[in-house]
Each structure stands twice: as C-alpha cells, then as structure tokens.
C-alpha cells in the first residue's frame, strides 16, 4: 500500500517524488526509504511520526538536502535539490532552509544574536531590522541577545535555534526532534513558538518527532513505517495520534 498523499493547499514548499534511500551495499543494504512521495504545503506545520527505524529522520535529511537519495526526486519549491551539487546545496541551505536540531544547535563562541543572524552573516547580508525584531520578540529573546549559549538554558538555546531558522525567511524549516532534549515545559514552549511562526509569521515547518504531544500541535501528521508512508492525519489530537501509533506498531 502506497497512497499518494495530496493536499488542498495552493503552494507546495517541499516535495519528495518516488524517493528511495538505500544504506550500505549488497547483503548489508538497508532500504531506509522505499519510493516515498510526499508534499508539504506552504504555511503549514507538519509532523512526521513513526516508530524508530521507520525512516523519519532519513526522510527529513533527504528533504533538507543533508543526505543524498538513491533514486527519485526532491524539490524545494521549484528547485530540484536532488540534482544540485554540494556548492548549490550549501547556498540553498543557507538562504532557503531553516534548521532546528535536537541539541548542539548553536555555535558556542557566538552570542545569541550572532547565532540568530549566522545564516545572513554567512551570506554577507545585513538582517532586516523589522523582521529580526519580530522574530526576537516572538521568541522572547530580547534580553538574552548578548549572552553566549553556555549562559542560556536548554529551552532558551532552542528558542535561539528557532529564531536562527526563521531569520532568512526560509521556504521551509526542518526540525529534527526539537524538543527531544528538553523538559516538558520548555518543550511545550518551543512547540508554541513554532506554532506562532506558522500562524503569525506565515512560515512552513516540517518536524520529526516521536512525541504524540508534540505532533498534536501540528496541522497534519504523516506516519512512516518501514520506509513507507503508511498514513496521514489532519488536525490531529495527541490521543488520536497515540491510537494510530499503537496500531502501527502492532
């Protein structure tokens, strides 16, 4: 079963077409993604869920151009990033994609503000004052800007990471277990901020998580199992997700 997933949204930010990813060779080959086709609409918050080993992180890495696919196509907007060379990919990551990792998101030698504006600095651009102010205020970081990461709490560090992901107004923000290392309160806070990034700032977020509570904040959840998309759910609630997950692991 391989249902083609379609959405009603007008614009598509990120798209995978028939993507297969095989790790290793010969007898050791592992099919992490198996002919996956999926689209992520602009202005939507999508969660990717699945049991461990289901290929959810690999999908995210491939969508973000961090990992090469074995076959198929990956698009960011109109650009086929699966056909781009490393140089071009770097520029796309810098200008069109935002990242939030589980941990070690920040450069320890730079201040919070410098970390936020890092992608712009790499591009040699000045931040847009209004947009930067909006992000900083949305993330509640105004009084933390001159602090180094070591002087920030885990939650604050992730907020800086989200702010950095937003700063270049990327086509899409990819978040890999952004709340995985946080206590539940800080985790909820981060999810709230990402929700606001979508609702208030019109951004697109694709988030890998194994926490049904976190996924419950999204507009849509895509379920992966054994490298295939097995289901999806619109306007999910944590309970519905939990049920679905239970079925999947049976």
């Amino acid at each position: 079963m391989n249902p083609a997933v379609t959405t009603e949204a007008t614009a598509v930010s990120s798209r995978a077409v028939d993507v297969t990813k095989i790790f290793g060779e010969g007898d050791n080959a592992v099919r992490a993604l198996d002919r996956v086709s999926v689209e992520f609409a602009s202005g939507e918050f999508t969660g990717i869920m699945g049991p461990s080993g289901s290929g959810k992180s690999t999908l995210l890495h491939c969508l973000a151009g961090l990992d090469r696919i074995t076959s198929g196509q990956v698009f960011l907007g109109d650009v086929e990033i699966s056909a781009c060379n490393e140089k071009r990919l770097t520029l796309i990551r810098r200008d069109r994609i935002g990242f939030v990792f589980q941990a070690y998101n920040l450069v320890p030698t730079l201040t919070a503000l410098e970390n936020i504006t890092l992608p712009l600095a790499l591009a040699g651009r000045k931040p847009e004052k209004g947009w930067l102010d909006t992000i900083v205020d949305t993330m509640g970081l105004r009084d933390r800007l001159s602090h180094r990461p070591s002087e920030l709490s885990g939650g604050q560090q992730q907020r800086v990471a989200v702010a950095r992901a937003l700063v270049s107004r990327p086509a899409v923000i990819f978040a890999d277990e952004p709340t995985g290392n946080l206590d539940s309160r800080s985790g909820a806070e981060i999810l709230g901020f990402m929700r606001r990034a979508v609702d208030d700032l019109g951004q697109t977020v694709v988030m890998v998580t194994h926490d049904p509570g976190a996924a419950g904040q999204s507009d849509r959840v895509v379920f992966l199992g054994d490298g295939r998309i097995v289901d999806e759910m619109r306007s999910p609630t944590p309970d519905a997700i939990l049920d679905r997950m239970k079925q999947l692991s049976e």
Partner: protein, 852 residues
C-alpha cells in the same frame, strides 16, 4: 596499565605522528650534526695519520703567538738544517717553508679563496717526508716550475704543461705546471689550494731568506720517534727551537681540525637545541589537548579504580613511547642528513676522501636519550593534569578549560622574565666566566616567562589581530577570532613555539642591521679614501689571503692617484693579551683615514713604535712615551713605546693597535696587504681614476676595486651572507613551530566536529569554513610573531649595547625586514592551516551533526 598505554598509543597513531614530527626534526638535526662531525673528524684523523706516517720529528721555532683568533709562529735559521742532518740516526731532513700562494685558472679567475686557505709550500724531495704524491708529471726541477694539488688543478682546468700565473706576496709571475699531486688519499688537504715550488723559489717568494718555517725529520730504521726527538733537540741550541715527535705533529694537526670542527659542531648543535626547545612546546601542547579530549576516558579509568598516579604514568608511558619511536626515526633521518651535508660540502670544494659516515655509540645514545627525555619532560605537566581529572568528569559532556589564574600567571611570568633579563645582562655586561651560559639560560628564562604570560595576552591580542579579519572577512573572521580566544592556554602555547623562532630571527635581523649601520657610520666618519682594493670571494677570501705589496706600490705610482697604502694585519701579544695589529704607512694614513689623532705624531710612527686608541690608552693608563711589552713571531718579546694615541679605535669600528709597515715587516714572516686604500689626485674624476686603477688591478685576479659605496655594500653583503645562513638554520625551529600550529588546529577541529557540521548545515560554504580556519591560524601565527618580535627586539638591543665597545655603535630596527617577517609569518600561518582546513571542509555534514 602498560597494555593500555601501548593500545592507546596505537589507537592514536595519526594524532601522535604530528607530535612526533616535532621530535624527529630536532633529533635528526642533532644526530646529523654529530654524525657529520664524527665523520669529518675520522676522515681528517686518517688523512693526517697517513700523510705524516714517514715524519718522525719536527723542528720549529718556540716563538708562537696563540690567540683565540689564530696562531702565528716565528721562523728558525736555515743553518739548523745542516745541524739536524748531522745528527746520528737522521735518515732525511727536509726544510719547510709556507706562505700565501694562489694560482690562477685557465679562465683568468683565481682558484680557491672561498674559505680554505691558499698556500704555497716548497717541494719536499724526500718521499718519506713529503705529504704529497705526484699523480701526473714530475716534481718542480727549476725555479720556474710548480706542482699543484689535484683538487685545484681540476677546479681551474689545469693540466701538466700549462703555464699559469701564481699570485704571491711578490709580483704575479707565470710558472710551468710540472706536476699534479694528491694529499694522501685526498685531492687536496681539506679543500685548501696548494702550490709547491722549488725550495729556492719558495725562499725567494716568502722572503724567508736564511730562515725556514720548520724542518721535517725522518729517522733511520730502529730509531724511535722519542729517541730522534731527543737527539735532535740536544744537537740544536737550547733557545728558540722546539722539537716534537711525528706522532705529536699528527695529533696537533688532528686537534686543530677537531677544534675547528667542534666550533662548527657546537654552532649547529645550538640550532638543533633551539628546534628541540620549540619541539618541547609543541609536545606539551599536543599532550595537553589530547589529555583534555580524553578526559572522559581518564575519568572512566578513575571511576573503575585506577589511581591518579596510574593515570599519570599511563600518559607518561605514552609520551616515552612517542619519544622513543620519534628519536629512532630522527636518528635514521640524521644519518641521511649527514650524508646529504657531506655531499654538499664536497660540492663546495671541501674535499672528503673516504666514503660512508661514522655513527658512534655516543651519537645513538644521545639521540635516543635526548629525544625521549625531551618528550617525556614536555608531557609531565599534561600527565599530571590528567591525574587530576575527577571520576565524575565522565558524566560531563565537554572538557572545560579552567579559567586562567591571572595573578599567579602574571607573577610567575614576570618573575621569569626579570630573572632571565638579569642573567642576560650579567652575561652580556660583566666579565664573568661562561658568559655564553648566562646569556643562554637568561634567554631561556625569558622565553618561558613570555610563554607563561601568553594566555593572559591572548585575549587582547586576538581582539586586535582579529579585528581587521572580522571587518574584511565577515563571519569567517569573527569565528576565527572567537576560536583563537576559545582556549587561551592552547593558543598561547601554540604561539609560544613560534615566538622562540621569530625572536631569534628578529634578534639576528636587528643585530645585522645595527652592525651595518655601525659600519656605514664608521666609514662615513673615518674613511677618506676614494677606492679600496679588496680580496675577492666570500668573507674577503678567507683569513690568509691578500696581495703582493707590489699592487699598492704600482697603484701609488699612477698619476691619477695621490696616495695609496696597503694595510696588513697580524696577531701579536700586546701587554700579555692576544690582539690584532693593523699596519699601514703612517705618512699616508692621514690621506685615506681620519683616525682622529689625539696626541703624538702618527705620521712619524717609527718601526719600533706603536699607536693605540684612546680607549685602550685610558684603560691601561698609557700615554705617548709609555712602554708596552710587545711579542711578535719574528722578533720575540721587546718593549715598544706609544708614539701616538688616536680617537677612532675598535669602538668606532676600527682597531685599537696600529704599527707602521716597516715595523710589520720586521715583526712578521709573511708580508701580504689585506687591503689597499686609495685617494685620487685632485681634479681626477672617479671614472678616470677607476679606469687607471683597474688596469693595474687586472694583473691580480684575486683583487677587486671598490669605491666607498661599493665597499660598504660588500661589507654588508658579507653580513647578509652570515645572516642568511643563520636564517636557514633557524628555519628548522620555525618549521617545527608551524607543525605545532597545524597539530593544534587539527586537534581542535577534531574536537569541534559537531560545531563544524552545524555551521555547514546552516549554510557555511566549504570555502568560508576553510578561510575561517586559515584566519584562526594566522591569528595564532601573528600572535607568536608579535611576542617573538618583542623578545627579539629586547635581545637585539641588549646585545648591541653590550658590543658598543666592539664597534657596534648604532641600534637599528629595520622596518622593511620587520614587515617581511610579519608577512611571512602570516603566510606561514595560512600554510600551516592548509591540511587541517581541507580536512575540516571535507567533513560529511550529516555525520558531523550527528557525531557525539
């Protein structure tokens, strides 16, 4: 624990390789020097033992002036030869005459004169006593015939039957090459140029007349060397003669070579020592970083019950293993280096007959011991730090550098610098024994002091150095600056290694510039001559070279020339200490020099008089009319009177003792003008004067005519040559320091894998990443250079001040060369970052971000 030590060593092979290179280079240089010097010593020992095999005794004058700058011996009367020949048991006795002689090759250029001396001998008829063996042609049978050594013959493309000019203290003369000879197994005695004449011609050229330099004696079979020595000595008058055995003569010659070699040996070992010192910093730093990175592993060991001492021993064991492996490789490299240097020497005409090299047990032991000890000692601090890692550190994610203890550091660092400066001053400005030792230890203390202060200075220095990078290179520059600041101790230790090399380069640069300025000032103040005739070749053609007085005579006779005087230099014992005596024509000196005569009548200086500088006159309480005991090789000890006191002594780059040419002729055996000073007649243009003088100089292929500016430049060129040699030797220390920078960067990058992955993930290009690491390297290199230049300027100033009385009157910091040093250091920083930067840029982004 031993197994763990070995396993850990094997697991981190690559990491230790860079550390080992620092040791390998230093040990290679050290053992290479030792092997080369042992090889040369053995070669010359064999050579002398071979050539003096038939010599059983040697007769010579007792009057010898032996000073640190050379030996000169008087002559003995020729009548002694008959006496010696009449001694029972003497089979053969051969006269010995030595003087300056330089043959001219078929291209019109003088042969040799680039270091090894150019000598003339009389041909020894007795085959037993002759140190040379004819390989082509025959011995000189007439006064117009000569034999030359094979090395020089090959050099000048000279064959038996050629007619060549030979330059001596007489007018240049053409001779027929009757034969070509070898010195034992060598083409020439250590690269010297030897021309051999008939004994009569040798006596004429040398002006020895009824005198000889010595007599070689061969005994009849059955008569021992000691016996013949005693018999000959008894037959000769008691005073004035010295008789030694052939073995003693051999040993004396061997020792002379050994002395010369040991100077060369020590000089090279100093540079090897500097490289090893720099290596210490590199090793210290590498082990510190490795220990910090492995603190989790250390903590795990502690947690499962290893004692702190065991952890320390494990790290020290690793360092001993690294040291041993590295010094073994270094020893091998050293032997290869010695072979390479040997062929290099051969290429420079220093002829070495026997093949192969001599590797003594001493060399092997010292290479292994020094290399291992240096490594272990450098690892002591890091090893002790490893023991202090608490078991709980296992649970912590990253090793955090303890904040620098500013107060303690500043006190210790400043204290070391002060003690070092005091020792330096003590060695430089007082008359204690072992001044060099004080200077060396003082310099060492200053280096360590600055290294201790380093971490305190890193912050402000990186801010300043990083500012332009952040401005022009954007985020790459900012990251470079911040990374350099990240671990001040690491950055400081890495820079400290470079600091030492740069300090010595800076010191030499400043010292050379000051010397050049001093020469320029001395020439400007004292030189009135329009032209100088100088021997050609490196360092003025070596110690025993010059021109026939005929040259000055012929130049003085030119209508374009108002005055010309040659100057001669001899070594004499003045009032109990060995000194250079400079001789010139007193009536002409005023025309070519402004000696600033203070009292007496210099122009009237008599053959039995001496002129001294105001400085030594003041020191000894001499004035015009004071008696001075003077001992010269030809006239022994006598009392001369001070006839003039002049202002420009050695302090002004001149000399402290002067005599007249007439006095010199009576005091010394050989008469060679070292230089000729010329003042043109009024109204003669420089060009016209040069044309006229060049015509005379043409007949002397070893002479070069220079005007004042050219003369100054040639003096500068000599200094430059020496300085370049020192630069080349210091390059080793700088290379070791650069390896240290590369090593630190590589280890830091390893540590920052995750962060680099993040930077690449959020859009840093490979180019930006590489440039960031390069800038970081440049900051480290420039920081080390800045510290080094500060120390180098201080050393330079101190040494220049200390040598003020020796004629170094000026202190100069040459801005252009300082800029060059800084630029080269920055470029070296870029070069050192090359491989680490490439490796960092090649990191797989996904792997890096997901690495532990």
């Amino acid at each position: 624990m031993l197994r763990l030590t070995v396993k850990s060593f094997l697991a981190h092979k690559v990491r230790f390789l860079l550390t080992a290179v620092a040791v390998i280079l230093g040990v290679a240089f050290m053992s290479g020097t030792m092997v080369l010097s042992d090889t040369l010593k053995r070669t010359f020992d064999d050579l002398f033992a071979n050539v003096f095999e038939g010599t059983d005794a040697y007769v010579r004058s007792t009057n010898v002036i032996d000073t640190p700058f050379g030996e000169s011996r008087g002559r003995i009367p020729r009548s002694a030869l008959a006496t010696v020949e009449g001694v029972p048991g003497v089979e053969a006795a051969s006269p010995d005459i030595q003087f300056f002689a330089q043959p001219v090759g078929d291209d019109g250029k003088a042969i040799g004169g680039q270091g090894p001396p150019s000598l003339g001998f009389n041909w020894t008829d007795s085959p037993e006593l002759n140190t040379f063996r004819i390989v082509a042609g025959h011995p000189p049978r007439r006064d117009g015939e000569i034999v030359i050594d094979k090395g020089s013959a090959d050099d000048g493309h000279i064959e038996v039957g050629d007619r060549i000019t030979v330059l001596t203290q007489q007018a240049p003369k053409r001779y027929l090459v009757a034969g070509i000879a070898r010195f034992g197994d060598a083409d020439s005695p250590g690269g010297a140029t030897i021309t051999m004449f008939t004994t009569a011609e040798a006596a004429r050229i040398s002006g020895a007349g009824d005198e000889l330099d010595g007599i070689s004696v061969a005994a009849e079979p059955g008569v021992t060397q000691e016996e013949i020595r005693t018999r000959v000595a008894r037959a000769l008058p008691r005073h004035g003669f010295e008789v030694i055995t052939g073995r003693d003569l051999t040993e004396e010659n061997q020792n002379q070579v050994e002395e010369g070699l040991s100077f060369f040996n020590r000089a090279l070992l100093i540079f090897a020592g500097v490289a090893l010192l720099v290596g210490c910093f590199v090793i210290f730093n590498s082990f510190s970083i490795v220990v910090a990175q492995r603190s989790r592993e250390m903590a795990l060991l502690r947690a499962i019950g290893a004692t702190g001492r065991q952890v320390t021993r494990s790290v020290l064991g690793e360092s001993a293993l690294v040291g041993l492996v590295a010094s073994t490789i270094g020893l091998g490299a050293g032997v290869l280096l010695a072979l390479a240097l040997k062929s290099l020497l051969a290429a420079f005409g220093i002829d070495l007959p026997a093949a192969g090299v001599v590797v003594t047990t001493g060399t092997v032991v010292s290479a292994l011991v020094v290399g291992t000890v240096v490594t272990v000692v450098s690892a002591v601090f890091p090893a002790r730090r490893a023991a202090k890692v608490p078991p709980v550190a296992m649970m912590r994610a990253v090793a955090v550098e303890k904040p620098t203890r500013f107060r303690r550091r500043s006190v210790i660092g400043a204290g070391l610098i002060l003690v070092g400066a005091a020792l330096l001053a003590f060695g430089l400005f007082t008359d204690v024994d072992n001044r060099i030792a004080y200077v060396g230890v003082g310099a060492l203390a200053v280096f360590f002091g600055v290294a201790v202060l380093g971490p305190i200075l890193v912050r402000p220095a990186s801010r300043i150095l990083g500012a332009p990078m952040a401005r022009f290179s954007g985020i790459s520059g900012v990251l470079a600056r911040e990374n350099a600041l990240r671990s001040p101790r690491r950055t400081a230790a890495t820079s400290a290694a470079l600091m030492i090399g740069v300090a010595l380069v800076g010191f030499i640069t400043i010292f050379a510039a000051s010397t050049k300025d001093s020469i320029a000032v001395a020439l400007k103040e004292a030189m009135r001559a329009d032209f100088v005739i100088q021997p050609k070749g490196a360092f003025g053609g070596g110690p025993q070279t010059g021109f026939s007085p005929e040259l000055a005579h012929d130049v003085a006779a030119l209508p374009e020339v108002r005055t010309a005087t040659g100057i001669r230099i001899g070594v004499a014992d003045v009032d109990g200490s060995g000194q250079f005596l400079l001789a010139l024509d007193p009536r002409r000196s005023d025309a070519v020099f402004d000696l600033d005569v203070k009292s007496g009548d210099f122009a009237a200086l008599s053959p039995d008089g001496i002129a001294v500088s105001e400085k030594v006159a003041d020191d000894h309480g001499w004035r015009v009319g004071s008696p001075i005991r003077l001992r010269t090789p030809e006239r022994g000890t006598r009392t001369v009177r001070v006839e003039a006191v002049f202002g420009r002594g050695q302090q002004a780059g001149f000399t402290d003792y002067m005599i007249s040419l007439a006095g010199f002729e009576r005091s010394f055996a050989n008469q060679l003008d070292a230089q000729v000073y010329i003042l043109l007649a009024p109204g003669v243009s420089n060009e016209a004067g040069r044309r006229a003088i060049e015509k005379v100089v043409e007949a002397y292929p070893n002479a070069e005519l220079k005007n004042q500016a050219e003369f100054r430049r040639s003096q500068e060129a000599q200094i430059n040559q020496l300085v370049n040699l020192v630069y080349a030797l210091l390059a080793l220390a700088v290379i070791v320091a650069l390896i240290g920078i590369a090593n630190t960067l590589a280890l830091s990058i390893h540590e920052r894998t995750r962060e680099l992955g993040l930077l690449r993930a959020v859009g840093m290009s490979r180019r930006q990443l590489r440039s960031s690491i390069r800038w970081e390297s440049v900051i480290i290199a420039l920081f080390g250079t800045a510290l080094g230049l500060a120390v180098g300027i201080m050393f330079g100033w101190a040494v220049v001040r200390a040598l003020r009385d020796q004629g170094i009157t000026q202190f100069a910091i040459p801005p252009a060369q300082i800029v060059v040093i800084v630029v080269v250091a920055a470029l070296a920083g870029v070069a050192a970052a090359h491989f680490p930067a490439r490796r960092a840029a090649k990191l797989d982004v996904l792997q890096a971000v997901s690495s532990e």
